[in-house]
């Protein structure tokens, strides 16, 4: 048992938080006969929240590297973005997590609820080397990588993939197209692209033209097999050949390809989308120095060079080259998340009506 914890507890009027209790418990267990754990408990431990699907590369690359370099312990709690948000809200007065990795739209909600605090170049030097558009709301959060979204296809039915987003509307794909729900982070892409195709304007302008987007999307309805919220289940349709085309992103589709599924991800000529994998500092984070160091590493060239090839993502550090299997020379579009988040409820309601069976 560590003296400091007990002192902390005294200062707080002996009201043990759950985390303290957990630590005390672990400490007690350690004293009872696990010298190795006692050793481990001597080093500081920080809690990182993130996506469950990120756990493999966190365990393999990030955590060992950081723990060795900073002589600390990382506890990675992988779950869904909305759950992470809920956990931050619940522990607002005494945060448990120091750093959270989640998608930009959820970041905006976290900012609105005053759950995270901005970082600066002084605290996180690598912030200066992040490419434009990947640092948000004056440093509230930054993107540590950008998986890219395109049109995934079944290679048995479509060995060549599709050259353009327009292909999705072709009659030969009747009942064979799968879209993500607008509730999913990868959901808005098709909305923006539909607006672009309908208006002919650049994505940057077209993204606000919701009428045009839904007009084009209505025409896609005969081709739709389903609109999913559960990605693994929906992707299974593509892998089995029931669906031929599916709008989705690289860190999932290319991972499945690498694992042997007959799928690939096309980067159509109109452009691809940068998925917003953000990292932020929790307001009042425990072990603040370690937390900032961690964020700095995630934004740094060393980790991104290791990470982006295995997550099939675009790096955000300007010095890190694109890995070989990432489409070159294709426009990567980052939308106006603030506008989207603001209108999200309306858009979802509209989507329900327009896209209903």
């Amino acid at each position: 048992m560590r003296k400091r914890d007990i002192n902390d507890a005294r200062r707080r009027g002996l009201s043990l938080s759950r985390r303290d209790a957990l630590k005390l418990g672990i400490g007690a267990a350690a004293v009872a006969g696990f010298p190795a754990i006692v050793q481990a408990q001597r080093v500081p431990e920080i809690v990182i929240g993130g996506a469950a699907s990120h756990k493999p590369w966190m365990d393999k690359v990030v955590i060992p590297m950081f723990e060795r370099k900073y002589n600390c312990k990382i506890l990675y709690e992988g779950t869904r973005s909305t759950i992470n948000l809920e956990k931050m809200r619940a522990a607002k007065d005494r945060p448990v997590m120091s750093v959270v990795q989640m998608d930009d739209p959820v970041m905006i909600q976290a900012v609105e609820e005053d759950l995270i605090e901005p970082i600066s170049v002084a605290q996180v030097p690598n912030l200066a080397k992040i490419k434009p558009g990947a640092v948000h709301m004056d440093g509230m959060w930054a993107n540590y990588q950008q998986p890219w979204a395109g049109v995934a296809y079944n290679t048995q039915h479509l060995p060549q993939g599709v050259p353009t987003w327009v292909s999705m509307w072709e009659p030969r794909f009747k009942g064979k197209v799968v879209l993500p729900s607008l509730q999913n982070t990868e959901g808005p892409w098709v909305l923006f692209m539909a607006a672009h195709l309908e208006t002919g304007k650049p994505l940057k302008e077209a993204q606000y033209d919701i009428e045009a987007a839904f007009k084009r999307l209505r025409a896609l309805k005969p081709n739709l097999l389903t609109i999913y919220t559960n990605l693994p289940q929906a992707f299974n349709l593509l892998e089995q050949g029931e669906a031929w085309l599916q709008v989705t992103f690289s860190s999932w589709a290319l991972l499945r390809k690498q694992e042997g599924s007959p799928v690939d991800l096309a980067a159509p000529k109109e452009g691809i989308f940068a998925m917003p994998s953000g990292i932020c500092l929790v307001k009042g984070a425990p072990h603040r120095d370690l937390a900032l160091a961690y964020i700095n590493e995630m934004l740094g060239a060393e980790l991104q060079t290791l990470l982006t090839p295995i997550t099939f993502s675009l790096p955000t550090h300007v010095d890190v080259p694109l890995s070989a299997d990432i489409p070159q020379d294709i426009e990567v579009f980052t939308p106006d998340w603030a506008w989207f988040t603001k209108h999200r409820a309306q858009l979802v309601e509209r989507w329900d009506r327009e896209m209903a069976i």
Partner: protein, 293 residues
């Protein structure tokens, strides 16, 4: 002889039992009542309060807005339609199954029971995946349809109402079968024999003896399946996707995604009212049927 088990009619035993004072026995229900009261009734009240509470005090504005929107009616319609169809399918499939189980003996009864209960241990997500395989364009159902010549080309089942009803009915079937089974098991087989010796043919025996006597099980089954089907969330999410909204999916999304707790509370309360009304209504209807049988 093997067929002369001396058993008094069900009710005879019931009437002979002396009336016990119930006050002490009620205590036995206290833990469950307390549990439900604290973890179910109270949150329910909170939910109701949330749906009518606005910054300007209590108001039914949220309900007015919901029912003023034609799309809401479509959602309510979807919800009722699917729940009704699922209940009907499970009833039609489950009723004979329950009686087969009740009349089966020895190893067959055990096998049937296991076959009915074991699938409950398989997660909904796994089942949904399996249905996806079965209902595929090149899945078993379509192969059978095309092979038998019923259709010329594969029929689209996945992510249709039909697919959802089939999948949900499969998942809820045990909840229809088990209550009917437990009632059917209690029905003295001699009652149908008595009816036969009185000149009642098979149909008459079924409609005048078996059906009215099994009604409590049927009502329980309908109540179980309907209330689960009307509020199912994961199953439609997986089997029909985002293009088919029900009260449950709207509620879930309002809380989890849109963070519009008032809308979520409103749809949740509406869902609850419909479910309770249908369950109570079917129980009343069944009592009426019993009386006129």
């Amino acid at each position: 002889m093997g067929v002369t088990a001396a058993a008094a009619p069900v009710g005879a035993a019931r009437t002979r039992k002396p009336r016990r004072p119930v006050d002490l026995l009620v205590l036995l229900a206290l833990p469950a009542v307390g549990y439900l009261g604290f973890f179910f009734a109270l949150p329910l009240v909170a939910l109701l309060a949330k749906s009518v509470w606005t910054s300007a005090g209590p108001s039914i504005e949220s309900y007015a807005r919901f029912f003023g929107d034609p799309f809401s009616w479509q959602v309510v319609g979807n919800t009722l339609k699917i729940a009704t169809l699922v209940t009907l399918v499970t009833l039609v499939l489950g009723y004979p199954t329950a009686f087969a189980m009740a009349r089966a003996r020895g190893i067959f009864q055990i096998l049937l029971l296991v076959a009915m209960i074991l699938p409950l241990s398989i997660g909904v997500v796994v089942k949904a995946f399996s249905w996806q395989i079965v209902l595929r364009r090149d899945g078993v159902v379509n192969q059978l349809l095309v092979w038998s010549g019923l259709t010329d080309e594969p029929v689209r089942f996945l992510f249709t109402e039909t697919g959802l009803v089939l999948g949900a009915a499969n998942i809820f079937l045990p909840f229809m079968v088990l209550p009917i089974y437990s009632v059917a098991k209690m029905i003295d087989p001699r009652l149908t024999e008595a009816a036969a010796t009185l000149g009642a043919g098979p149909m008459y025996r079924f409609f005048r003896v078996i059906l009215p006597l099994s009604m409590p099980g049927v009502v329980a089954g309908i109540a179980f399946v309907f209330s689960m089907a009307i509020s199912m969330y994961v199953i439609p999410t997986l089997l029909i996707g985002d293009r088919y909204q029900t009260l449950a999916t709207i509620t879930g999304r309002s809380f989890l995604f849109l963070r519009n707790e008032q809308l979520g509370a409103t749809t949740a309360v509406i869902l609850l009212v419909i479910a309770v009304a249908v369950v109570l209504g079917s129980a009343r209807l069944a009592r009426g049927l019993r009386r006129t049988a």
